[in-house]
Amino acid sequence: MGQSFRIISDIRNIETIASGRGVHIRKYLERYYGRGRWRKMKGVATVELADGTFWEAEIHWYEAHGIGRRDFKIKRLIR
């Protein structure tokens, strides 16, 4: 998932934010990860930041069947 932070719990409250043409970076997702029915997702998880601190955070990511979850990002730190 990359080096920016580490997800150390299950992801809860998972929702689909966008799908199809509503996924604004679809062209980049297809370029780097492949063609698929990309969806933009959100959820809440405990994360470890690069500075070693632990937080509950709202995270977003993109996923497609057969490709998996990509580009996890922190939207906001909750507590």
Binding site: S4, H24, I25, L29, D71, I74
Partner: protein, 77 residues
């Protein structure tokens, strides 16, 4: 605080960030306390941006005219 940064590392976020591209950085004191920047990345549907490690960027000072153009492009698409 520089409002703009250049991405120097997009590991793990290859679709959301392009190495060498200038991005807008938004003020976020909580993020900065953890060596993170709030960045408006390629997903312009999220104008409030995302938190990324500061180490993935280098702050840059741009001429005012360039800043105006980039801000206008961001808000106008």
């Amino acid at each position: 605080m520089s409002q703009f940064v250049i991405c120097i590392n997009n590991q793990g976020n290859q679709a959301s960030l392009i190495v060498g591209k200038v991005y807008r950085r938004l003020p976020d004191s909580q993020a900065e306390a953890h060596q993170m920047f709030r960045i408006v990345d390629e997903d312009k549907s999220e104008p409030e941006g995302y938190l990324y490690p500061a180490s993935m960027f280098v702050p840059v000072e741009l001429p005012e005219e360039v800043q105006r153009v980039l801000m206008a492009a961001e808000s106008g698409g």
